[in-house]
Every structure is written in C-alpha cells, then in structure tokens.
C-alpha cells in the first residue's frame, strides 16, 4: 500500500462518525439505485412482453410496405401453410396467421364500423392475451365457423349478448362486396376502451371466405421465448422466407416504435429523480471533504513546507474520497444485489396490484431484473459525482501559502 493510500485510509477514520455518515448516505443511495434500476429494467421487460403478447407479438411477417400503409391487397398467399412452416422452423407453437379487414357491423338495432381480425383459433391464444380476456361465452369452436368475438363496450353499444347475430358488410380482397353473418360466441374485456369498442375477431377460415381472401392473410404473428431471443428467431424466420422476396420480418421496435420511446421517456424522467439523490450525496461528500481540508489546513501547510506540491495534496484528498466512495459503492451495491436478488425470486407487488393484474390478464407480481448494468450503473454515477465533488476542496489547496496555512489552528 502506498503511503498516500495509507494516509487517505487513516485520515478517513480520524472522524469515524462523520465518515460513516457520508458512507451511509452513499450506501443508502447505491442500494436504492441498484434496486430501482433493476426494478425499472425488469418492469420494462414485463411491460414490453405484456404489451407485445397482448396483440402485436415480438415480430410479424408481412408483405413489404404493409406496416407503413396497411392495404387489403398487401396480403400473404397461403398464409396458414406458411405459418405452419415457421412453427416447424422455430419449433415453437407461438406463431399464428391473421387477416385484417374493416366492416360495418350491425345488430338488429345499431351499426358500428369495426376492425375485423381473422385468427387461427388454435394458435391465437399463444400469441395474444385477448382470448384469455373473454369474460362471457367462449372462444371459437372451429377454423371455418361463423362465429365472432367482440369487446364489452361494443356489445353494450350494439346491445347484443352471447348467441346474438351480427351482420358484417365490407370490401373483399378484390374490391367486391363482402357480406356475412356471425354469431357472438364471446365477449372480452381488455381494459382498453378503444379495443373493446372497435375490434372483433373471426376464425380465419370464415374471414377468408367472407372477404374473398382465397387462402390469403395479412400477417403472421410470432412470439419468441423472451425478448432476448427475438433477434435469433428473426434470423431463423428469415431463412424460411428465402423464396418469398415480397415478405419481410419486422420486429417489435418497428411494429411499435412508440413503446420504445415511452420506455426511453420513462427512463429519462426516472433519472431526474435519481439525479436529485446523487446530487444530495455529492453535496454530502463536498461538505465532508471541505471540512476535512479546512480542519487540516495546518497539516497541509506543514507538508507544503516540507516540499510537497499542492497537486500531490489534492490527489490525497481525491484518494480519500475515492476510498470512501469505493466503500459506499461496495457495501451499497452488495446490499442492493442481495435485496434485489431476493425480490427477483419472490417477486414484488403493491396494494391493489393483484386486482389490476387479474383484470388485465397480467402477472400479479413484478420481478426486478438483476444485471451487470443495473448493478453498476447507479453506483458508478454516484462514485463519479463524489469524485467530482472532491475537486473543489482539492483545488483550494492550490491557493494555500505554507506560512499562512501553518498558522491555522
């Protein structure tokens, strides 16, 4: 151990209580930061997963240009067999074909314009949470049955219930008139009024008949095991599409750019709060080190008289801060890891969360996601700001005159 490091360590313990108070502030803030950032990153993962699994999926196969300008004619031929090939390629059942159209939907009393989604009844529950949100009735009984599920708001608006008939009128794939009748077999409550008001699902076989799709659909929705596997799954899917130049695979960032922006905005605003915490710690360090330098003015004067240059004395002050911050970082991060690791196993919830989770078909607990990033990010920033805070006390040493300093009490 060099003499500077030895002096720094011993100087810290000249005022044990003051040092522990400052280190305690660092430990507390580092613990909070490790936990909060882990929870935040974990909740983002959950938010992305839940949001994507509710409808969009981790990725979709579409005809090129469909995402920017969805048109009835921008369709995929033989979509059900292609979806089957993708399932085989991935060894994953979470792949489902869909068709999308618009239709005027009428009950005996009222009419509303709706987005009609044709779905594969066997596979749709594996890529979307919507079938799990049916509160009345059930899901489709077959691929070609004349059945429809609608949202609770629409059911109320149309004044229909389970077993009632709805008439659908729209435009077919070739621009022809499309018309049909479907029986309401299920009513869902997604918790999102817009979806509950303006979306309905049909079995894809009936959807293709109704809209003259002739085996076509508009997208194949794919869910990977988790977010981290999206990229490799995307490459695997692309290999299935080698002979289909007109098709593209789009991942969730392209399908839902708003989601990523929302996460970034949330992360930024959270850092404002973390910033306040970090600045408070930095001021605590500034106060401690400034007092420490003022108390030792005479000692610094003596060292200068012996021929020690201010830069070396400044480095002593910064080394003391680094040792103190390192201690705060190590203990704070360790406690943060233990707490976060425990909660990442047993989960974390707050009052009312279970009711909300049940209502939206979401997990009833949050799980912090412990990673190198979540462990090191916050404490590293605290460490750097603490060092920055010690620069001012260190700079003061450059203005000391040995004779004047040695007269200090």
């Amino acid at each position: 151990m060099t003499i500077t490091l030895r002096m720094a360590w011993r100087n810290l313990w000249r005022h044990k209580r003051r040092t522990w108070l400052t280190v305690g502030a660092m430990i507390f803030s580092n613990l909070i930061l490790v936990f909060s950032i882990s929870l935040q990153l974990g909740s983002y993962q959950m938010m992305i997963d839940n949001s994507l699994k509710s409808y969009t999926g981790h990725m979709q196969i579409q005809r090129e240009g469909y995402n920017e300008e969805p048109k009835m004619r921008s369709s995929i031929d033989a979509i059900i067999s292609l979806a089957g090939r993708v399932r085989d390629q991935l060894g994953n059942e979470s792949v489902a074909a869909r068709g999308v159209a618009f239709a005027m939907t009428s009950s005996e009393e009222r009419s509303y314009g709706l987005q009609i989604i044709g779905v594969e009844p066997e596979y749709e529950p594996k890529v979307s949470t919507l079938p799990g949100l049916i509160t009345r009735g059930g899901y489709f009984t077959g691929l070609n049955t004349e059945e429809i599920i609608i949202g609770a708001v629409l059911a109320r608006n149309l004044r229909v219930g389970i077993g009632d008939e709805l008439t659908l009128l729209g435009s077919g794939h070739d621009g022809s008139f499309a018309a049909g009748i479907a029986i309401v077999t299920g009513i869902f409550e997604s918790g999102i009024a817009e979806i509950d008001r303006s979306m309905a699902q049909l079995p894809i076989g009936y959807f293709q008949d109704l809209f003259g799709m002739e085996g076509r659909g508009h997208n194949i929705v794919i869910n990977a095991a988790d977010l981290s596997e999206v990229e490799s799954a995307k490459q695997s899917v692309s290999s299935v599409l080698k002979d289909r130049d007109e098709l593209v695979v789009l991942d969730w960032e392209l399908l839902q750019p708003g989601l990523k922006q929302a996460i970034q905005a949330d992360f930024t605003s959270a850092w404002f709060m973390y910033g306040v915490l970090i600045v408070l710690v930095a001021f605590s360090v500034l106060n401690t080190q400034l007092m420490s330098v003022l108390e030792r003015t005479r000692e610094f004067g003596v060292m200068m008289a012996l021929g020690v240059k201010p830069a070396r004395l400044g480095s002593l002050v910064i080394t003391e801060t680094a040792v103190m911050s390192g201690l705060g970082l190590a203990i704070g991060a360790l406690l943060g890891i233990v707490m976060t690791w425990y909660l990442s196993i047993v989960g974390f919830s707050y009052p009312g969360m279970e009711d909300m989770a049940e209502r939206f078909n979401l997990p009833d607990r949050m799980y912090p996601s412990l990673s190198i990033l979540s462990i090191m990010l916050g404490p590293s920033v605290v460490f750097v700001f603490s060092l920055l805070a010690s620069i001012y006390p260190a700079i003061r040493l450059f203005f000391l005159q040995p004779v004047t300093a040695m007269r200090a009490v």
């Binding site: 000249r14 000692e299 060292m303 008289a305 012996l306 021929g307 240059k309």
Partner: protein, 235 residues
C-alpha cells in the same frame, strides 16, 4: 563557500491598519557547515528571516541565494522542489503528520522525492536509530513525548541529507534535559554531516551552542558575533 546569502531583504506585514516591519534591509552571509543562531525578542524578525531563507515566504525586496539558487526568483513549484531537496525544517510544534508512525513520517519526505522503498526503509531505520528512537519506529506522534516527537521531526529534516536545516524555536516546548539532548544532536549532525544549521530562538541555552550568534530587533540585525567556545563539541 557561502551556503546562504541574503542582500538587503525587506518585508512588511499589514495588521489591521498598522504596517509592521518584519525585515528592514537585512543582509547576511552564512557559510556552509556553520551553526548559526538568530536571537531576539518576539517580533524581531528572526522567524520572518528564517521563512524567507527557506522559501516559505517571499520578501518584498532584496535577494536570497541558497547554494547556487536564487530563492527570491523561484516560482511556487521550483520553491517546493528546493525545500524538498535542499532544506530540512524543524518547527517549534514538531508538526508531524498525526496519522503516520515515526518511521512513516521520516519516509514520507523520501517518498515524495521518489526514492525506492528499500532505500527508504533502510535510511529511516538508520536515522531513527541515530536520533535515539530505535524501537519506537511504529509509534504514532500521539504515542511519543514532546522530545521524542521533536527527534522524529529532526530525523525527517535530515533524512534526505539536506545542505541546510532551518529550525524555528526547536526547544520551546521541551524541558531542559530534552532541549540539551536535542541541541547535542544538532551539534553532532552539524559536525558529522556538515549540515548548515540556522536556528531561530530566544532560548539562551540554545544560543550557547551557536558558532555564530546573530541578534535581531525590529527587523534589523543589531549584532553578529562568532562564539569561540560553543557549549558542546562532539568528538
């Protein structure tokens, strides 16, 4: 050859609205290997002269030369280098670094000079033995008596083999026995290592050891005498 040459040094201080004269056209030459005492009452200018010689304080006018170096023309950095390499200081209040042991206090200056660890360890051991502190190397200043602390300060001052040691009231906080032991040590170092000593004091016992006694009053040198029979001469 002269170790120190001061020419026409002037220094004033402002205390409130009053201007106090610290040095008033002081000129002096001190030979290498000399043992000089600056004496006089408080405020006579002896500490101011000592500080000016050591580059701790700058005169308002005049010239100071230590060895080949014009001290009055040096900037802060070169002044620090000069103090580090050429001058040893002994202060009235010992001024040891409280968190370091006796050995570490002595080694500290050598480490700042960039000397290797083995050399530092070897020399600090030898020098502490020479000043009579063998076995007390690992004690911190608070665990040493005043006399022992001043011996550590002397060891620190001479460990880098400076050409000049400047001591400001080194015996002021010591009892007469310890003061005598310290002065004997100074004389021994002066004779054996040919180190020039300049000691500011108003202790008459210390003055008795000086080969040359310079008396000051009101910032001026009022007498400068060589003493034929200093108190202690070590063979």
């Amino acid at each position: 050859m002269s170790s120190i040459v001061c020419k026409d040094l002037c220094k004033t201080f402002q205390q409130g609205e009053e201007i106090i004269t610290g040095l008033d056209h002081v000129s002096i030459e001190i030979e290498a290997g000399d043992f000089v005492c600056l004496s006089g009452p408080s405020g006579s200018g002896k500490t101011t002269l000592l500080n000016a010689m050591g580059g701790l304080d700058t005169p308002d006018s005049g010239q100071i030369q230590v060895g080949d170096t014009r001290v009055d023309q040096l900037g802060k950095g070169p002044l620090a280098d000069m103090r580090l390499h050429k001058i040893g200081f002994v202060f009235q209040a010992y001024n040891l670094i409280p968190v370091l042991t006796a050995r570490e206090n002595v080694e500290f200056v050598m480490q700042v000079r960039g000397e290797p660890a083995q050399e530092r360890s070897h020399r600090s051991h030898d020098i502490l033995k020479e000043v009579g502190l063998e076995g007390m190397e690992d004690r911190r200043p608070a665990q040493l008596s005043g006399g022992q602390q001043q011996r550590v300060a002397v060891a620190r001052a001479i460990v880098s083999q400076p050409a000049l040691v400047l001591a400001d009231e080194p015996t002021a906080n010591l009892d007469s026995v310890t003061a005598t032991q310290l002065m004997d040590l100074f004389v021994e170092l002066n004779q054996h290592h040919n180190i020039t000593f300049v000691i500011a004091t108003h202790d008459t016992r210390v003055m008795a050891y000086a080969k040359r006694l310079i008396k000051m009053r009101d910032g001026k040198i009022i007498s400068d005498e060589k003493q034929q029979h200093p108190s202690t001469v070590v063979s």
